[in-house]
């Protein structure tokens, strides 16, 4: 319990560190954007009120009035202080923490909202759906195949798994995605190249369409991912299978299948979970770019679009939400580790 608590606290600490770094990095850029939007709104208000413009004798006085209004408005939201002043940094961090990312510059959600939080709320579930499904599929295939390979170490099947693992892990996932589009959308037209569902959300066939469009990106991530996992499982398992207690079980006549898939696998589980938790960052990055390849309407494509349009508020929001999601999955892996390895809990 204490372990779980310290790990959770550490994660919150990392989240704050991330927030701080983000705010520092984007501070001046965000101020530019805020300043421009304030100026835009002030000018729009004055343009909407011809009587006010007519009350000024010369254009210079009107400009002075506009400048005064802009300065006033900027002071209201604290823009008069530099972005690096402690209050400004604290308030920026607070706003991000409570998911107030402001308005997007260019992008909007499917429902037409330009609130960054609305856009993210629409995109994040799609990423979680794809990424989680892929991770579950990869670990199931990886553990099964790895255990199988380890029980037949140095057989042809084992070598094939290892070779596949080494080769597939040096392919960029998203490039394999492009090849899959070529194979399954151009050569054999089985799946659509764009993974955006073509029916609007709310339509009864939406879920079916979503799953159909998810097939190609999911296949891509699983195809590139499971090799490395099975290789990892195999290597840990080969070590465990050489230990004395396994030899003892063999000696008392426990069946080999049971030894491999039950006893040895349970012993190899803690290090496997650790390494997998650490590899999550890499696979999340790969999944994000893969989404951009397939136009899967998740966080990855949002990044792609936001970078293309240099929409800073969206980039900040997406980074924060992804970091939080990532830390939550690392924490989940940590807690799983605790369950698997009682020594950690006792510590």
């Amino acid at each position: 319990m204490r372990y779980a608590l310290t790990r959770s606290l550490a994660m919150v600490g990392v989240l704050f560190a991330t927030l701080f770094i983000t705010v520092v990095l984007v501070g001046s850029g965000m101020d530019d954007i805020l300043g421009r939007s304030v100026a835009y709104h002030v000018r729009a208000e004055i343009a909407a009120d011809p009587a006010l413009a007519a009350s000024f004798a010369d254009p210079g006085a009107l400009e002075a009035h506009i400048a005064a209004r802009i300065a006033e408005r900027e002071a209201e939201i604290g823009l008069d202080r530099p972005w690096w002043s402690p209050e400004r940094i604290a308030s920026s961090m607070w706003r991000i923490l409570v998911l107030d990312f402001g308005r997007a510059n260019f992008l909007s959600s499917d429902t037409g909202s330009t609130e960054v939080a609305d856009i993210l709320a629409e995109r994040l579930p799609k990423t979680i759906l794809l990424f989680t499904t892929a991770t579950v599929a990869i670990s199931a295939i990886g553990v099964g195949l790895g255990a199988m390979a380890s029980s037949r170490a140095r057989s042809a099947a084992d070598r094939l798994t290892s070779a596949f693992a080494v080769i597939s892990s040096s392919f960029p996932v998203w490039w394999v995605g492009l090849l899959m589009i070529f194979a399954f959308s151009f050569a054999w037209q089985v799946f659509p190249p764009r993974a955006t569902p073509d029916v609007p959300p709310g339509d009864p066939s939406y879920v079916a369409s979503l799953l159909y469009h998810m097939a190609l990106p999911l296949m891509t991530i699983v195809l590139v991912g499971f090799g490395a996992w099975s290789y990892l499982v195999r290597n840990f398992m080969v070590g465990v299978l050489q230990e004395d207690h396994i030899a003892a079980r063999r000696a008392i006549g426990v069946r080999e299948r049971r030894i491999v898939y039950s006893h040895a696998l349970r012993n190899a589980a803690p290090p496997i979970v650790t390494v997998m938790a650490l590899s999550l960052s890499g696979s999340l990055g790969g999944a994000i770019i893969t989404e951009a390849v397939f136009d899967w309407p998740g966080m990855g494509r949002l990044y792609f679009e936001a970078v293309l349009a240099m929409d800073l508020p969206v980039i900040v929001g997406a980074t924060y939400v992804l970091t939080a999601f990532f830390l939550a999955s690392v924490l989940a892996a940590d807690l799983l580790y605790m369950r698997l390895d009682p020594r950690t809990a006792a510590r």
């Binding site: 600490g13 990392v14 770094i21 040096s170 650490l278 770019i289 980039i315």
Partner: protein, 441 residues
């Protein structure tokens, strides 16, 4: 280390994997050296300049893959051989046309000097002996001192009409290259441009003939008419630069950090490892995106960003290795003898970590290359240089995969994978040499 060096080299070269890795790496280094040494250096500056690629066709298939019944005409660019004297100059272009589709167009670019006005006449001698007149263009009077540049297109309305009329109704391109049955007449053509001066002097300074086609060069072209061979060749030195510099810098930093923490132990160790944990928990890609967007997308700055995330894992491992080394008797003895810490680390701890460091350099390279490619793919790469990731980004933006332009999609990714594989192989065989326990498995 000097004693271990040769044995490790032997270890790498003795495994099939190690030899394959060294072989691929040597080929990549040779390609990079050839690219850097050749005149393609000009081409990299022109990569993003559409004007530089005007003479090439759009999305042309590589010439070697252009086979089978639907064979496209090959895109060819020929410089003219200029001869003649006085007021008459001839530029002839020898041109081989293969069987298949008729080349859809033809263009002559010329630079000429003439005093007074002149007449440019262009005709084609076909392999079957027939002569097809293409165009006769009057050139406005010139002083004879300065060069005049110009172009004659078959696609030009008046040129096309003239050829069609003379050939009795067939299309202009068919009249020149056709075999009368819808295909191209295969064989050697001579495309001849003649310049007749009205004044005392007329001569071609240079000419260049471009015959349009859907197939070009070794690697084909992309939607922006760029020669993909140039981009692919340039990707090699860039990828090696990014991969190797990121790997070397991250491993050196990680090694120093981890070794110091492990050697000092106690509070310093604790604090350094907590800081390390924070960086470890940062999700790399979102952060790299923020950094590239806010600071700079220069390829050199990108290397620094990648190092920021690359050193952490090395620091963790080298710390635990340094902890083990510290417990060794001779390290303890060196400390008790009053050696300075820096000297003990350098002389007694470091040598034990060096083999591991070499292996992790090799293993870190592929990750750096794929991450850079991924960032380029998202549009955060250095626009000045054509990296493989950027080529794939362009391909994806133009829907190359769904349109079947495989020569635009497959080679850049294959190069990324091959480069990564070379280092994975080398790293794997080094690892086996460093870590004999692995060999048992």
């Amino acid at each position: 280390m000097s004693r271990r060096g040769p044995s490790m080299r032997a270890e790498v070269l003795s495994s099939r994997m190690g030899r394959a890795g060294v072989g691929i790496l040597a080929a990549l280094v040779a390609l990079s050296a050839a690219t850097l040494a050749s005149g393609i250096g000009e081409a990299v500056r022109e990569w993003n300049d559409p004007a530089a690629w005007l003479t090439l066709p759009r999305s042309a298939v590589p010439a070697w893959a252009n086979v089978g019944p639907d064979r496209l005409a090959e895109h060819t660019v020929v410089a003219g051989a200029v001869s003649g004297e006085g007021a008459h100059s001839v530029a002839s272009h020898a041109l081989d046309v293969g069987a298949g589709a008729v080349p859809p167009g033809l263009m002559l670019e010329y630079a000429a000097r003439h005093s007074g006005s002149a007449l440019l006449e262009l005709h084609v001698m076909r392999p079957d002996g027939a002569r097809v007149g293409v165009a006769a263009v009057a050139l406005a009077a010139s002083d004879g001192a300065s060069e005049r540049h110009g172009r004659v297109f078959l696609a030009d309305e008046s040129v096309r009409r003239t050829v069609e009329m003379r050939s009795g109704g067939a299309g202009a391109a068919e009249a020149i290259f056709g075999d009368g049955r819808g295909g191209a007449l295969a064989g050697r053509y001579a495309v001849i441009a003649e310049l007749h001066g009205a004044g005392g002097m007329a001569e071609f300074a240079s000419t260049r003939l471009t015959v349009d086609g859907g197939a070009y060069g070794l690697m084909g072209t992309d939607e922006m008419r760029r020669d993909l061979a140039v981009g692919l060749a340039w990707g090699a030195p860039l990828a090696l630069f990014v991969g190797v510099s990121v790997a070397v810098a991250s491993v050196l930093i990680g090694l120093a950090y981890g070794m110091y923490a492990g050697y000092r132990g106690g509070r310093a160790d604790e604090a350094m490892m907590r800081a390390n944990d924070v960086v470890y928990a940062l999700p790399a890609l979102p952060f790299l995106v923020i950094l590239a967007v806010t600071l700079s997308s220069s390829i050199f700055v990108m290397v620094a960003f990648l190092v920021m995330f690359g050193w952490v894992a090395v620091a963790k491992v080298s710390r635990s290795m340094a902890l083990q080394a510290r417990a060794r008797g001779y390290v303890e003895a060196s400390r008790l003898m009053g050696q300075r810490d820096s000297r003990t680390i350098l002389r007694h701890v470091m040598p034990q970590l060096l083999p591991y460091a070499l292996a992790s350099i090799a293993i870190s390279v592929p990750a750096a290359i794929t991450t850079e490619a991924g960032l380029s793919f998202l549009g955060l790469g250095d626009p000045e240089y054509p990296t493989w990731g950027q080529m794939l980004r362009d391909a994806s933006l133009h829907g190359a995969a769904a349109r079947g332009l495989w020569w635009w999609v497959v080679p850049p990714g294959l190069m990324i994978a091959l480069t990564g594989l070379a280092f994975v192989f080398i790293g794997g065989s080094l690892d086996a040499a460093v870590n004999p326990r692995m060999r048992r498995a």
